[in-house]
Amino acid sequence: MSWQRRLAARAPAAVFLAEAARIGPVRETLALVPGIRLVDTPRHASVLLVAGVIPTGWRDDLRRIHDQLPAPFASVWCRCEPFEALRNPIRIDVVEALPQGVVETHRELMLGKRDSAPRLLPDEPPNPWEGLGDDGHGGEGMMGGTPYGRPMAMNMQDDRRDGLTLDTLTFRLGPFHSALPPGLQAEVSLQGDLVQAWTVTRKPFAGVVEPIFHAARQSSVPIAELELARARHHLHRLYRGLWLAGWPTMAERALRLAEKLGPNSDVAGLRRELERGGLWRLALPEPGRGVLDEAQARQLGGPAARAAGIDADLRSEDASYRRLGFAPTCREAGDTAARWRQWLDEIEQSLSLAGRAARYDLKTAETAAVETPRGPWAEGFPHDMSDLLGEVLPELEWGEALLTLASLDVAALDPLPLANDWRTGFAEAKREGSP
């Protein structure tokens, strides 16, 4: 055993998380585990963690991701079937054991106690190009073909920003890209760094909310718990957004707040730090970018609608909420920056409601209609709105587009509750997970 490998075993386990359907906040939980580092590209990982249910149509994409990890690597499967071709796959269905299992897997790989996983696909270019075309590089004359495996960048579209027409670059992103909702795949056309077209080629997996929102449709539930779950949901989304905005320190802070959330928690400090650091002045798209018109906002519902000035919130119809003096909190602009502010407003409002409801031990009065963090759930529930991205994202610069995407909850709501054990036991596992 070389000293180098022993030292490498002490490095944090670099994990690429492929989020499949019907999983709880695995990313948010692992992000706080000592000894685990979540990475945004398979090339930077030593462990591929697949969590949740993988629909059949998504397994080939997963194979491609699997084969992108550099050796030595391994895959860990949580509540899903590993690929048959894998020898000795690691399957961990007990969620509490996940952090420790991932850290241990990395350590075994480095110490040579576990062989690197085999490749599942032949290592050949996705586009046939070698030996083709005039010079054998896949291109034909001045245009056409796939030189060196990439289609020629052609300026087939008028530029949508300043008239400076550049070659259009088209590529596919997803379905397990960490900046996109899990399952979403999009075909993106760029001119320079400007999104020209965004076509959803595969819908995102239905999103989940905490079981208490499902329970609230069956019987009365404590408002304090319901509101803390709502605040936690928004803090988790804020975490992902802040991570994308290149602010890991604050992203982690949002997560820590979510982890320790109680009726006496306060989001004012976090809000102040975000304001002082210049999140709205420097990092987020300028006012007027990523705007939803009234029809789009209404269709999407929830916080996105309220950020556009639509004061629709099913909590207004609940007598217990009315006793607490509830009124929907709204913004007017309906743009990306407004939706980010709306998160903070709603977190603040939820914490305030939770504090007061806990004092009076109030429970919900309505069961037929529940305002979930994703939107209203009455006769119908929030359905997939990912096609909206094709209308909202074009004409935005790449970074603006992703921060806008982060501000929109476009996945459908999964009407079936998750098992309760997605959330339990992590705290103990985290303490044990550090190498």
Binding site: R43, H44, P72, G277, G278, L282, E400
Partner: protein, 308 residues
């Protein structure tokens, strides 16, 4: 002769690049307060380096192999060249050219080329966007850098770093040219694409130019970025904080302390601020910082005349 002019500068530059990069990793980790990172703050960078050394260096479909392999090494070489220009005392200087200040300026420009090369040669879309973004940013911060550097050369009436330090004997430039250092720090964040100006290897591009990198080349790239931060900090201490000057301690010790102070400020800013949106970044550079750098230059000229 050979010892003085070849071996010593070479040793100095690489020693600073290596130790400095390690220090950057330690400091940055230490600053991530409340962070979830496990293990000793001193051992963690070494463990991560060992991990990358054991990892396979993956490739992409038809990269520009030569350029892709060279880019991290070239960026590291630029950082080491920058460190070789830093005067540790009136006599202890790696490379004491009559135009060492101009050479530093050229390193900044070459960094733009190398970073572009790193992203472009991978033949991967996200890396390519990172590369193009960096070029768009690079042009704007290079102009600011040029005016600020001319500002420190004026009082010295020389383009030699040792003369720039000597000209600060009565008053450091951080005082006589108050706009200079803040502007230069922005240049440093741009040059090293660190924190708020990390548009090349950013999270929205899944680490941009480094998205396809793994194994030893990724280690070299990380090492080069950290070494460039150190080189920039040492140059900033030379240009604005009186370089080797100071009471009681020997010159090299003062330079180390001052460079460390600049480094800490840069790392702190990196943790304290979100990434600037590219369009806002360009507006800030061209509309706010560039005019301020004109003011800095006029100010520097007026002060130089008055003090002469």
């Amino acid at each position: 002769m050979i010892l003085d002019q070849l071996i010593l500068p070479w040793l100095l530059a690489w020693l600073m690049a290596g130790l400095g990069a390690y220090l950057v990793a330690v400091l940055d980790r230490w600053m991530a307060t409340g962070s979830t990172q496990a293990g000793s703050v001193w051992l963690a960078p070494l463990a991560s380096a060992a991990w990358l050394l054991t990892q396979q260096a993956t490739t992409t479909e038809a990269p520009d192999a030569g350029a892709w392999r060279l880019a991290p090494a070239l960026y590291l070489a630029l950082a080491a060249t920058g460190l070789a220009l830093v005067p540790w005392s009136p006599t202890l200087v790696g490379v004491d050219l009559a135009t060492s200040l101009v050479l530093w300026g050229s390193l900044e420009a070459l960094a733009t080329v190398v970073i572009f090369l790193h992203g472009w040669s991978a033949n991967s879309h996200l890396a390519l966007i990172g590369a193009y973004r960096y070029v768009a940013l690079g042009i704007s911060y290079l102009l600011v850098s040029m005016f600020v550097l001319i500002g420190v050369a004026l009082p010295a009436e020389s383009l030699r770093w040792t003369e720039v330090v000597a000209a600060q004997e009565s008053l450091w430039h951080v005082v006589s040219q108050p706009l200079g250092l803040p502007l230069f720090l922005v240049v440093g964040l741009g040059l090293t694409f660190w924190g708020p100006l990390d548009l090349a290897d950013s999270t929205d591009l899944s680490t941009g130019t480094a998205v396809e990198r793994s194994g030893p080349p990724r280690l070299v790239w990380a090492l080069a970025r950290a070494a460039m931060l150190v080189a920039f900090s040492a140059i900033a201490a030379t240009a604005f904080l009186g370089g080797w000057m100071g009471p009681w301690l020997p010159g090299p010790a003062w330079l180390l302390l001052k460079s460390l102070a600049v480094l800490v400020v840069l790392l702190w800013l990196g943790r304290r601020l979100p990434r600037l949106a590219p369009e806002r970044c360009l507006t800030l550079m061209w509309v706010v910082l560039l005019p301020l750098s004109f003011v800095d230059l006029i100010w520097a000229g007026a002060v130089a005349l008055w003090m002469a």
